[in-house]
Amino acid sequence: MKPAPFTYHDPTTADEAVALLASHEDAKILAGGQSLMPMLNMRFVVPDHVIDLNRIDGIAGIRDAGDRIEIGAMTRQRDLMRDPVIAAKAPVIAEALNWVGHFQTRNRGTIGGSLCHLDPAAELPCLMALYDAELKVQGPDGGRTIPFAEWPLAYMLPSIGPDELLTGIEVPHWGGNHGYGFVEFARRHGDFAIVAVAALLGVEGGKITRAAIAIGGADTRPIRLTEAEDALVGAAPDADAFAAAAEIARGIDAMSDAYVSTAYRQRLAATLVARALTAAADNLKGSA
């Protein structure tokens, strides 16, 4: 199980990387390698060129930019987990990362790699959906910004051009006091989620003022449960409201595969939406 031969490039700047993409047919970008390397080893993916981003400076790191958090595409999952800005402003990200692979893979895996690989069961795309994150890509004709809603085109296919490079992500966070919950069901610790749910709740005067629910693993791309989000606003953060949201989740589009059915994924979504919202409400109480 050895990769097919390829030509290896290790640019030191983003511009260089973009130029390489433009000038090479059938090139694959190597970020953390925790998804690409297995596919190379198994020869599922057989590119002529591999462009390694690991020697590029300036596209890793986390910055507090007021109402948003700026994250470099090459930021390692480990660093996201340990970062004080994330912990303070978007703690659900740090919590969810406990579910991303294992500590050895988080030491290498990057946020950008995960978003470009776009495995439907991956946690980070689900979180970016939750936050309506914006993705910064750089191409031969300069840069553009892609809202996450427009990022997944299809199963594991992001709307980034073959000659474009993801350089950073902007996460409009919810500030200090909000409730958050992340729950996931996988067969074993660190496995692909069968279904994962991330939820954010803003509550004032005993009423929900703002809600976000993202579901990963169920469909070919992360789902935002907007209908339930709208229904929750104005309601009290209680079991009835969450049960109603769960019922909406039961009706989502879901895929089937060799292991689990559409119906099971829908059932799980219902269970986990209720649990994620309950967790969000609970830690809101805790923090308040």
Binding site: A4, P38, M42, R43, R187, R188, H189, Y259, R267, L272
Partner: protein, 779 residues
């Protein structure tokens, strides 16, 4: 005062090498001029091979040669031999080392590339053009025997490999007398080997020197040598097979594989050593596994739950070829009637071909299936009669006073299955106590009050271990005083070196560190049988004990002459023979050895054979029957269907324990393997025979994060069948696990009236059963 090693928790002598990165596994061996091989394997479950064009592959830089069946030449054009011939095999289908004109499972090898590196060999494999004519594939064992089912082999008229039956007692009478007859049917799916080290081998051919040498990651090097010798039609003396450090075996490495013919042949053709290391995808597709077995049983019992008879039918998946004869179906039947005295049994097996990888024993072989079946039927009786499962078992166990107890079943090789010793009810009591069985009702009620669903399950098992004929050992004191100990038995991590060193050291009066242990190299010991079926301790143990005793006696006899003392006054301690009461009068074992291996013109003392050495083939006079009772406590999350094993308690009896630390490790590892079978490990093929589970993200091996702490307690009922009183321990953890887990899940979900007819039990299956049960309750 003799140092006691037997029964002590001696730290393993293997470990210092292995924890410092100094092990020597097949892939660690590097020979001068060694080339690397990669196989082209069929992507089709069933197809005719119209033509193979290797020209593009052969032309690639770094490729030395490409071989197909035809390229091996007429001398090597025949099918592999049957390792275990048996009369019930109606269709003895064995494969060609490289497929000739038909492939019968995805993963069957049909060409091989020899290149400078494995990577280049893989590049070339992708360039081999094969014209296949695909044929219909049979995958489902339940329909494989129906008229019009696709045939696994183009030249047959049926998918029936053979039929066998275990039959004793008066079954008609048993069912006629019964107060109740209950029935159940269920599918058992056991996964694969998945030793962390895949298979792999190195071939070297030196016709003017050492002959043919094969280093291979295997459990039975001598069986491989014989099979290779027969296939090549060359004498065993010119073939050397070595199993170096082996990274786990668990059954599938006990056989003889096509690669173990092809790789040495390539070395012969290339006149250079050739290495092949199986990669993990190959392991999924070409290493033998166990997979499906369907049972449909009826149990006859009294109102009190006394089981009178068991009858029914098993459908056993064989896969595409028959490398292991009927080991698997046979060992599925022989454990019946389990730990119970059941007077009449009549269970038949249909062994069916499918277009999947050939089947082989996996830890426990068929025993886990046979025991699961019996335990399920005990569960059925308990459930239907509303009698506590522990109580039903008490009413059915074979009792100590019945030992030796002849079940009526026949073991492989024709011997009657006789339970030699053990107190099954006492063992159950120990398990129940360890599990706080009496306190469970309270735990369950408390959890239920919080909306949590707890369940408990019990299972008991017997295991026929230590099958013969023998596993010999040679013990020889060297001039240095070091003691060379050699045996044929290969180790895949069971700690044979430590166990045997302890036995010899204690008997001979030397330190375990002074023992030079070598095994699993056919050039070092004349014959070995193999490390399968929990047989090594009960065979090598006694032979090592006996050989060491003989050497001790010889040493004392010689020392008595040399020291002019009476043997009765002599003792050996730390390699030195001393006269009791005269500590300064002594001679070392090394000095005694020199007297028996003198230089030219010197004399061997009169009345002594050369060398301070002895060889013994002492073993067990029959199969010592180990036994165990397990209690599993689980929690089911009805929101997700997830099963968590909260607590797992084992009471086990493998007779006298040589090294309790090693036995404990075997039991715990075995239990976790069994939990994997019960809850996680599933090898899925689609209806075209494509394996869908071909990576470790999808084939779910048990991880530390989901496994419980396993509490183990022991009874030591010495087996009367060997000099050490030992019984096998390697598989006793695995065999009863699935039954305990499944029973616990049903107990947790009793209010939904859940009945489980398939394992591994997955969460989706459970949620469907829960929802169905809830809907029924609602009506």
């Amino acid at each position: 005062m003799v140092v006691r090693y037997l029964g002590a928790e001696v730290q393993r002598m293997e470990d210092p090498r292995l924890i410092t990165g100094n092990g020597r596994y097949v892939d660690d061996i590097k020979l001068d001029g060694m080339l690397h091989a990669a196989f082209l394997r069929s992507p089709h479950a069933h197809a005719k091979i119209r033509s193979i064009d290797t020209s593009r592959a052969a032309a690639l830089e770094g490729v030395h040669r490409v071989f197909t069946h035809a390229d091996l030449g007429p001398k090597y054009a025949h099918r592999m031999n049957q390792l275990y011939p048996a009369p019930v095999i109606e269709q003895n289908k064995t494969q060609y080392p490289l497929a000739k004109d038909e492939v019968c499972y995805v993963g069957e090898a049909l060409a091989v590339v020899v290149a400078d590196s494995r990577a280049i060999a893989e590049d070339a494999v992708a360039l081999i053009d094969v014209d296949y004519e695909t044929l219909p594939a049979v995958v489902d064992i339940m329909t494989a025997l129906e008229d019009g089912a696709p045939l696994a082999h183009a030249d047959t008229t049926s998918n029936l490999m053979g039929r066998m039956r275990s039959q004793f007692g008066d079954i008609e009478d048993a069912f006629a007398k019964a107060d109740h007859v209950f029935s159940a049917s269920f599918m058992q799916h056991r996964g694969g080997c998945h030793s962390m080290e895949t298979r792999g081998c190195i071939g070297r051919d030196d016709p003017w020197g050492d002959g043919l040498t094969l280093w291979t990651s295997a459990q039975s090097p001598y069986l491989i040598r014989r099979a290779l010798s027969r296939w090549l039609d060359e004498p065993e003396e010119r073939i050397r097979v070595v199993a170096p450090d082996v990274g786990g075996g668990f059954g599938p490495k006990a056989g003889f594989y096509p690669e173990e013919i092809v790789i040495p042949l390539l070395a012969r053709f290339m006149e250079r050593p050739v290495k092949w290391i199986e990669d993990r995808r190959e392991h999924f597709m070409s290493t033998t596994t166990q997979r499906d077995q369907h049972w449909a049983l009826e149990v006859a019992c009294t109102n009190e739950g006394k089981i009178l008879g068991l009858r029914g039918k098993v459908t056993h998946e064989n896969g595409a070829f028959v490398p292991y004869g009927i080991l698997l179906p046979n060992s599925s039947l022989t454990p019946l009637p389990g730990a119970y005295s059941i007077a009449a049994i009549d269970v038949g097996v249909d062994i069916v071909f499918t277009n999947t990888v050939p089947n082989s024993p996996v830890r426990g072989a068929g025993r886990p299936c046979g025991i699961y079946a019996v335990e399920r039927m005990v569960q059925v009786v308990s459930r239907n009669l509303g009698i506590d499962p522990a109580t039903v078992r008490r009413r059915n166990y074979v009792r100590p006073e019945q030992m030796p107890y002849e079940t009526g079943a026949t073991l492989r090789g024709g011997a009657k299955c006789v339970y030699d010793s053990g107190d099954y009810e006492a063992l159950l009591d120990k398990a129940l106590e360890l599990a706080d069985y009496d306190g469970f009702a309270a735990r369950q009620a408390a959890a239920r009050a919080e909306g949590r669903y707890l369940g408990i399950g019990v299972s008991s098992c017997i295991e026929d271990t230590g099958m013969g004929p023998y596993e010999g050992t040679t013990v020889r004191v060297e001039a240095s005083g070091k003691v060379a100990v050699r045996t044929g038995a290969a180790s895949q991590g069971q700690g044979h070196h430590t166990m045997i060193a302890m036995i010899v050291a204690e008997n001979l009066g030397v330190a375990p560190e002074d023992i030079l242990f070598e095994s699993a190299d056919t050039s070092k010991f004349p014959h070995g049988v193999g490390t399968i079926g929990s047989r090594v301790a009960a065979n090598v143990g006694p032979s090592a004990f006996d050989a060491a005793t003989k050497v001790r006696e010889k040493a004392l006899k010689l020392a008595a002459e040399v020291l002019e003392a009476s043997e009765a006054d002599l003792d050996i301690e730390d390699g030195v023979v001393r006269v009791n009461g005269a500590p300064d009068v002594s001679i070392t074992l090394g000095e005694l050895a020199v007297q028996l291996s003198p230089a030219s013109a010197m004399r061997v003392p009169a009345g002594f054979d050369p060398l301070l050495e002895a060889t013994s083939y002492d073993g067990s006079s029959g199969s010592p029957i180990a036994c165990g009772s397990n209690v599993a406590e689980v929690e089911v999350d009805i929101g997700t269907g997830e099963v968590r094993v909260l607590r797992y308690s084992v009471a086990h009896d493998c007779g006298v324990m040589i090294n309790p630390k090693v036995v404990h490790g075997q039991i715990v590892g075995g239990v976790v393997h069994g939990i994997g079978n019960a809850l996680f490990e599933r090898m899925i093929y689609d209806d075209q025979g494509q394996p869908l589970t071909t990576n470790y993200g999808e084939y779910l091996l048990p991880l530390a994060s989901e496994m419980p702490r396993v509490d183990v307690t022991h009874m030591e009922t010495p087996s009367p069948l060997n000099s050490l009183g030992v019984k096998g321990a390697g598989e006793g953890g695995t065999i009863p696990a699935a039954a305990a887990i499944v029973a616990a899940i049903e107990n947790a979900l009793a209010e939904f009236d859940v009945e489980i007819d398939y394992y591994p039990v997955d969460p989706q299956m459970l949620t469907e059963l829960i929802d169905a049960g809830a809907a029924e309750a609602a009506e």
